[in-house]
């Protein structure tokens, strides 16, 4: 199987879908002549022309609405935000228009479009360039929210998102673009939206995460093996719709859950997941659900402070230990 970068996987997904369907176009800042601020769209303008790979002015609200209008009458635009931070300038367009077009028109038209770009911290880009937006978009009916952690998932999920008839918020992570991984060749790789992936099976604790946090989670799971703690790591991949089945089955098996997200805790993805587990899996729980989240601060610049603000392996390990340190449970696992 070929080994390619996450960014190449995204590019391959777009290229293949544009070759397959001439309604698919790419709209955004620097996507054409510059080949993409993070080189995701490299070469696409040369192949598909300026009308299909459209360089826009810095006008997020304008070009997001433009993509919606085009989607309403039959195109399938991909909008690239240079980073998700700037999508907030188009928040009205996404929440008030894109998400609601199908419902308000009673399905006279839909908004088949993908809104994609990188988010997340770790590159010392500071408060206005490091935010995780999933909770802000998760909240609104009419949108799907997905996030791939591996190159293979990036390709397969993006292709599914492009073929989906709904507006899909497709979250990438700045820190994943260089990551390499095996990606099955060929145009048929589709990862279905709404299906989580058990990236590592385990018996004692369920660890729920997605996007870049998958990696510290896997590392923590590996380290905990030494303590004879077996952690099941689930990569959610799709946040809305959510694969609650897989989550609850796992919790029913392990009786403990830890949620790891880079976004903030209050009203965030972690709260959502632990709430769902309490609501639907309460009887299965032997310990409170632990939440490991980004520090509730605007992202600081200084390298050391930034690292303190993002969940790390140690924080995840301690959270796993806490779920196991319940009275009565301590003995068998801490032998």
């Amino acid at each position: 199987m070929p080994v390619i970068q996450y960014r190449e996987a995204l590019r391959a997904a777009m290229r293949e879908e544009m070759e397959r369907d001439d309604r698919v176009c790419l709209i955004g800042e620097e996507v054409g002549g510059y080949n993409g601020a993070y080189r995701i769209s490299e070469g696409l303008m040369d192949q598909f022309g300026r009308m299909r790979v459209l360089d826009t002015p810095i006008a997020e609200e304008g070009f997001t609405g433009m993509a919606l209008g085009a989607a309403m009458v039959g195109l399938r635009p991909i909008v690239e935000y240079m980073t998700w931070n700037f999508s907030l300038v188009a928040y009205d367009m996404i929440i008030n228009h894109v998400a609601k077009a199908r419902y308000m028109s009673n399905a006279q038209f839909g908004a088949p479009m993908v809104l994609r770009g990188p988010q997340g911290g770790g590159q010392q880009l500071t408060a206005q360039h490091s935010q995780c937006v999933e909770s802000w978009y998760m909240h609104c009916p009419g949108l799907y929210v997905v996030s791939a952690a591996t190159p293979a998932d990036a390709k397969g999920l993006l292709k599914s998102a492009i073929r989906n008839d709904n507006p899909v918020i497709f979250l990438e992570h700045l820190g994943l673009y260089n990551m390499k991984g095996e990606v099955p060749d060929g145009p048929d790789l589709l990862v279905p939206i709404g299906v989580a992936d058990i990236k590592r099976p385990g018996q004692d604790v369920t660890l729920l995460t997605y996007s870049k946090m998958l990696y510290p989670a896997l590392e923590a799971a590996k380290a905990l093996e030494a303590d004879e703690i077996s952690v099941e790591v689930i990569d959610l991949r799709s946040l809305r719709p959510l694969d609650l089945d897989t989550i609850l089955k796992s919790v029913a098996k392990t009786h403990r859950a830890v949620v790891v997200t880079e976004d903030w805790q209050p009203s965030g993805m972690a709260r959502e997941l632990s709430g769902l587990i309490y609501q639907h899996g309460f009887d299965d729980l032997d310990a409170p659900v632990e939440e490991v989240c980004g520090a509730p601060v605007p992202m600081p610049y200084a390298r050391n402070l930034e690292q303190l603000a993002i969940p790390d392996v140690e924080a995840i390990k301690s959270a796993v230990h806490r779920t196991l340190a319940r009275p009565g449970e301590l003995a068998p696992l801490y032998r």
Binding site: C25, R102, Q108
Partner: protein, 340 residues
């Protein structure tokens, strides 16, 4: 009957050409008359139903502005070109051929409404006829409009998009972003700012750095002009011209100077305007003017006009009956069409 230019037009360039010849055939004129009449009666019935609490939410009437909408919407290719507007949207679909019944039923929140009862007054749609809504956030429809036009250009289809905008939307960023984008991409679009002098209760001069709004087109290198939006013939001449230019990929900006006779919405008594001001504009009622023109030029007799009025009154009664007798949406519809 003389067609006076609006006072506001004094400083704006003339649009239509001076010819007194009607820019419509007689048949077209009768059709436009019928539609303007239907629009007026529809909204009067809506106002009545609103005061009876049969219609909920907001209800923004277009009464007084009909010449503007009719002039433009009678000049596009129905079922081919697109039109889109804000929340003052009952009348555009009527001009585009949507039957009154489903529009009234939408106001009543019924399953038979154009949007299945999910849109209400501000979110009417008739996609098969090219009417793309009906959007409740001021300025929100403008970027969407350029997307419609972008799709037309993308597919090499000679469709034009008409985008209706209130004067209150001109200060919004999306308006300027969209004009810029349309200019860069040479989109087949006509932006029509319907300048009725007020955004809710706030007069234009308090909200806009300049009050000759078509001049914003200048900044974006776009053809721009003002037209007397109370003068059906002037609007029509202007519309035919700008739509042709837009079809060739030259985006157009028109400021249509008009007036709403009523308050901003049914909840607004319009206290911020003087009686004299309102009366001055009511004297230029486009419906009365058109009726007078048809009679004076022997296109319709008094009797024929009476007959059309009877028909329209009957049609509106049927629309109201249809709305009243239609079922509310099934509870199951709550979850329908959130996702595909």
């Amino acid at each position: 009957m003389p067609r006076r230019g609006a006072a506001a037009l004094k400083e704006a360039p003339a649009s239509g050409g001076a010819s007194d010849e009607a820019p419509f055939s007689n048949d077209q004129l009768v059709d436009v008359y019928r539609k303007v009449l239907a629009a007026r009666r529809f909204e009067e019935r809506a106002a009545q139903a609103y005061t009876q609490a049969k219609i909920g939410g907001y209800c923004h009437l277009y009464i007084g502005q009909e010449a503007s909408g009719a002039g433009f919407l009678s000049s596009i290719r129905l079922g081919w070109d697109y039109a889109i507007t804000a929340y003052r949207d009952h009348v555009a679909p009527l001009f585009m051929g949507t039957p009154a019944g489903p529009l009234m039923a939408e106001l009543y929140g019924k399953a038979t409404g154009v949007s299945g009862g999910k849109g209400g007054s501000m979110h009417m749609y008739d996609a098969p006829r090219g009417f793309m809504g009906g959007w409740g956030i001021v300025g929100g429809q403008i970027p969407i409009a350029i997307g419609l036009a972008y799709a037309s250009k993308y597919r090499n289809e000679d469709r034009v998009t008409l985008c209706f905008i209130g004067d209150g939307a001109a200060p919004i960023g999306a308006f300027h972003e969209s004009l810029n984008l349309a200019g860069i991409l040479d989109l087949p679009i006509v932006f029509i700012i319907e300048n009725n002098a007020y955004a809710m209760g706030t007069a234009l001069k308090y909200t806009n750095s300049r009050t000759d709004l078509h001049m914003y087109g200048e900044a974006y290198g776009m053809d721009h002009r003002a037209v007397d939006g109370m003068d059906l013939f002037a609007v029509r001449r202007c519309a035919v011209d700008v739509i042709e230019k837009a079809r060739q990929g030259r985006p157009q900006l028109v400021e249509s100077i008009t007036y709403r006779f009523r308050g901003h919405s049914m909840a607004d008594a319009g206290q911020y305007r003087t009686k004299e001001e309102v009366q001055e504009w009511r004297d230029r009622d486009p419906l009365e003017w058109l009726e007078g023109y048809l009679k004076e030029h022997g296109i319709l007799t008094e009797d024929q006009i009476g007959h059309i009025n009877d028909e329209v009154r009957h049609e509106m009664k049927e629309a109201v009956d249809f709305a009243e007798n239609s079922p509310a949406p099934e509870a199951g519809a709550l979850y329908e069409n959130v996702y595909a």
